[in-house]
Symmetry: D2
Amino acid sequence: MKKIPVGILGATGVVGQQYVTLLSNHPWFEVRFLAASASSAEKSYSEAVGDRWHSTLAIPEKIGAMRVRRLDEIEKAINECAFVFSSVNNETAKLFEERFAEHGLPVLSNASYHRASTDVPVLIPEVNPGHIDIISLQRKNRNWSKGFILAKPNCALQSYMIPLTPLHNRFGVKKLAITTLQAMSGAGYPGVPSMDIVDNVIPYIPDEEEKSEQESLKMWGHLTELGIASEKNIALSVHCNRVPVLDGHLACVSMELEQKPHPDEVIHLWQTFQGVAQELHLPSAPAQSIHYLFQKDRPQPRLDRLAGSGMSVTVGRLRPCSLFHYRFVALSHNTIRGAAGGMILNAELLFKMGYFA
Amino acid sequence: MKKIPVGILGATGVVGQQYVTLLSNHPWFEVRFLAASASSAEKSYSEAVGDRWHSTLAIPEKIGAMRVRRLDEIEKAINECAFVFSSVNNETAKLFEERFAEHGLPVLSNASYHRASTDVPVLIPEVNPGHIDIISLQRKNRNWSKGFILAKPNCALQSYMIPLTPLHNRFGVKKLAITTLQAMSGAGYPGVPSMDIVDNVIPYIPDEEEKSEQESLKMWGHLTELGIASEKNIALSVHCNRVPVLDGHLACVSMELEQKPHPDEVIHLWQTFQGVAQELHLPSAPAQSIHYLFQKDRPQPRLDRLAGSGMSVTVGRLRPCSLFHYRFVALSHNTIRGAAGGMILNAELLFKMGYFA
Amino acid sequence: MKKIPVGILGATGVVGQQYVTLLSNHPWFEVRFLAASASSAEKSYSEAVGDRWHSTLAIPEKIGAMRVRRLDEIEKAINECAFVFSSVNNETAKLFEERFAEHGLPVLSNASYHRASTDVPVLIPEVNPGHIDIISLQRKNRNWSKGFILAKPNCALQSYMIPLTPLHNRFGVKKLAITTLQAMSGAGYPGVPSMDIVDNVIPYIPDEEEKSEQESLKMWGHLTELGIASEKNIALSVHCNRVPVLDGHLACVSMELEQKPHPDEVIHLWQTFQGVAQELHLPSAPAQSIHYLFQKDRPQPRLDRLAGSGMSVTVGRLRPCSLFHYRFVALSHNTIRGAAGGMILNAELLFKMGYFA
Amino acid sequence: MKKIPVGILGATGVVGQQYVTLLSNHPWFEVRFLAASASSAEKSYSEAVGDRWHSTLAIPEKIGAMRVRRLDEIEKAINECAFVFSSVNNETAKLFEERFAEHGLPVLSNASYHRASTDVPVLIPEVNPGHIDIISLQRKNRNWSKGFILAKPNCALQSYMIPLTPLHNRFGVKKLAITTLQAMSGAGYPGVPSMDIVDNVIPYIPDEEEKSEQESLKMWGHLTELGIASEKNIALSVHCNRVPVLDGHLACVSMELEQKPHPDEVIHLWQTFQGVAQELHLPSAPAQSIHYLFQKDRPQPRLDRLAGSGMSVTVGRLRPCSLFHYRFVALSHNTIRGAAGGMILNAELLFKMGYFA
């Protein structure tokens, strides 16, 4: 099979670097276009990244030698790739992403800028694959023929939305009290100053709680002729903390369901969960999206974040709750499943559904 | 004023050492009796502690030279002190504390062993000073004349019970979802192995969630002729995590009240709170038991744990909650307010009320 | 006594904030002038600092209300203060410090910019008080009447130069192999990204080794008619590491002396050391500049950095060395003794010597 | 090829667990005998290890089901294996290791107990493969026919001895000043209490400096008829620190050689180094034992410890030294190369040389 040529906008940043690493041996996709801010343009990728390369793996040789483009070299992108991953910041997303889509290139965006738009899907394959259908409305709304914009949610959501969705589909989620303990890498690079976080917790992450609540309810919403209508009947509260952990966002969840299942039923549902990603054998899909751990003190970020090569969510401590039906703990790798890895999975699903044709 | 002679059971442990430090210049109390396990007995306190002394302050000279006694030298204790602080572990508490009380010595115990007994008060002066009255029932039940046992709650409770109590008294607490992020020092010494906690979170602390829920409801309970009856009408769920922080337990609280106050009213109540400890000018009482911080990212353990010399609780981020009325964050120093310091405050209150006469 | 009015250049930065804190109740000096970059100018100091205030102590009220000036408001400075502390970066130091001195204001500079100039003293009162005399040559060289520039060394030097100097004066230092383990706060704020240093060591600090070697030899140099001549006969090698510690630079020192003393003699020299700062009873001088600790595993940064309110150096582990005469470990608080606190001590000495008249 | 059956003494400890993990798919060796203290005996290995299993990989199923034996079941061991890896502590080593050897089983011991014996090789294949020949003297001395004892050095040595040895062989090492920054895992489990090391450095590790110096000189020693004679003409000083790093020991080295080479020559020697382990294609040998990194701030423990699957040493920052010829930084994974992995490499070499026949 001839590989699909893809581009990366914001290729020199932390998430951009992860796209480079994760796509370096991808069976379907091949990086052919790299764009970044003006200061990087015209340099080779290796030069542009310089000593800010964060992976312990080396820069793939072929990509290291590629020339970095400016973000406005859209024509070039159109000639060279079938779609682009975008990990630019919100300001830049605002300026450029729609222009790429308008010119016919699908944009898979890690920015939060488009997530609130009712015609933009915010996708996790295990949670809301049906939302992909809104793309036709988006194209109609914006008069685009081939291009579109698709988002993924904030990195904190993966930890709890993936285990909650099979329960929601079967028993109906009513109320959720969630507290997250989020890793430092979630703030990008240079991100959190070491003087702020060593021997400390910061019980606040700008805009994170609002995003976590709104995006969750949108992802459980239904499609209408006017766009995605967020779920209105679930009360959901998320408190977000930054903790001195390198990678891995942990969520402490208390949930009330419409019907209260037996705990064994909950665990069985998790252990046997197979979503569209597994059914279609997407290359980045882990064998199991959800790993339930029976040890009483798991999951733990350092021990469990790499489950399923960083693409699985680990869950543990399902137990009765004095307030709602059950409490549990869930963990997901914020810079793999919660960023580039999660979006590559989205791209694989879109490809299978013919969206890059 | 002649100082009241006091003893410390378990004097060589972490909490015992804190008693030694905090009592070294106490205006009312003077350490006159030190007891520890057999391996320490007959040594001077300095020898017995050896290189396991944890404070950056030196061992007070006079106490360092005192001879450490065995825990069964009860007669000696009776001759030398008016009451004892006990920081022995649960097993030892079971074996010895009642014997001291039986022989006429009040025992102020940090162990959890007695906390569930309906005739033993679990005391925080800002929360339930009225529970002291159950001591008369305790003495009657056990046929003790002068001795009694008084406990303080688990170190996690101080962070949320102190700010919640004035709200409970005014507006009535109905529902609480609490997640704690607790410091490593809460596990004693050697406590948490460094290999387990660096770059990690452990989302489980043995028995901590049960204690946090049960003790909270007991502290808000009322006195009956049969003992303290725990509050039954509050739904309270506590999830406890260990995080890589040296000192300071943080609690993320979501609360539903009987009546919903305006947030300014809540903050005003906290800022103006004066409990019995302040009214009686107890020497260890901070000027304010509750500090409300208006910065959006506070309280933080490293920055705020020493507020009021470690005896105040700092509170911040009061904001609406999508699930209940409000969410907020609260922090208390687990080894000062949450251990020896909190119990010394209890002792000061008991002294003022004539319980050591 | 009427207090001496002083100014702070770079008042909003990390070191500038420390000057504000440490000078807030100073018995001799009073802050009357604050300057910072254009973005802060005309704001009150509290506004200008905003949420970047790093101390757990509050901003002193009176200073918080002061108006921040631009760095080119030199006339204002002249009218309002007798000398200035400068904690601006090297680039800014280059542009402004000499202009202040030229206009008659002594500048006590934390920047490294002037440290290599042979007519600028690099001062630690315990090490080279005699170097102050070079100021007359400096004034002559530059045609300045009242102004002058005085520097203090890089923050790593305080840890080893203070204990080495009394040995050097008595026995003569010949060879030194030094490895430092330096705290994160030494890199300023935001400084070291947390993703770089948690669970890690960075065995390199830009320019730090060169500065540590050159400044040490200059401080042990002698005065000539042409300026300070660096010591040429000592072989000194310094390797610098950044470690995950908040405050406190540790140095592992191996030394060869001209004459080998008995170890007791070395320890006695340290324990009895009294420098000009102690002799003149300077207000910021600790009772002892050097504390020798006999425990086999000390000094440790977290336990010992606040010795003498952060102004003393703690030393331990003096022992024979298989290579040179002795090895030892020394520790100094890099942001107190190694930055603002050390320079305030310098200012106190200069004041006593009449340099601000 | 039929696999060689091997045993593990102390199989439930941290290093024992690593043997289990590293040997689970070994091409030559197969675990057939597991022994541990009496409390583990007669349990299955999984039961015996319980929740103290430290790897993120699961216990290999087959080994998990094996029955754990007592350390005195020597007959059983003889019947079931060709040699044993021993990771028992020093006390236990003293009691049992010689008995196994006496009964004809070679013992590859991680304990320090035998390292000082002049007829016991302390082996790193890249450093002193010739020392294996002393085994014949050992057997003669002790009247053993097939059994023998072989040790590996303290985990700190791997970092500097592997890069120093090719330089020593070519140019002659004369003087060495070494300071190590050692990971917490070097202290075993539970090891260093978290309260001791977070935000801290401990500048002392019991006996570590003595071992580092003595074992290094023994490894560079020569064989005589009386045993291994330590090198006498090298002055070597090692200072050891514990730092808050999970895995990876870093060494800052300053060296004086007999002949001073050009730095390019040094780097070339490292880059092209091929030892006996590479020449014999031993399965655990990394392609390169030494990786030289040209970035100015490397090696770093978290980024580089897994080079060569934890079996390579990374080296960087070769630069002139003001005291000796050159300084450099070296890093090795203390629990892989420095413990079980290093000893498995030794076993592979011994096997190739026919020592287990």
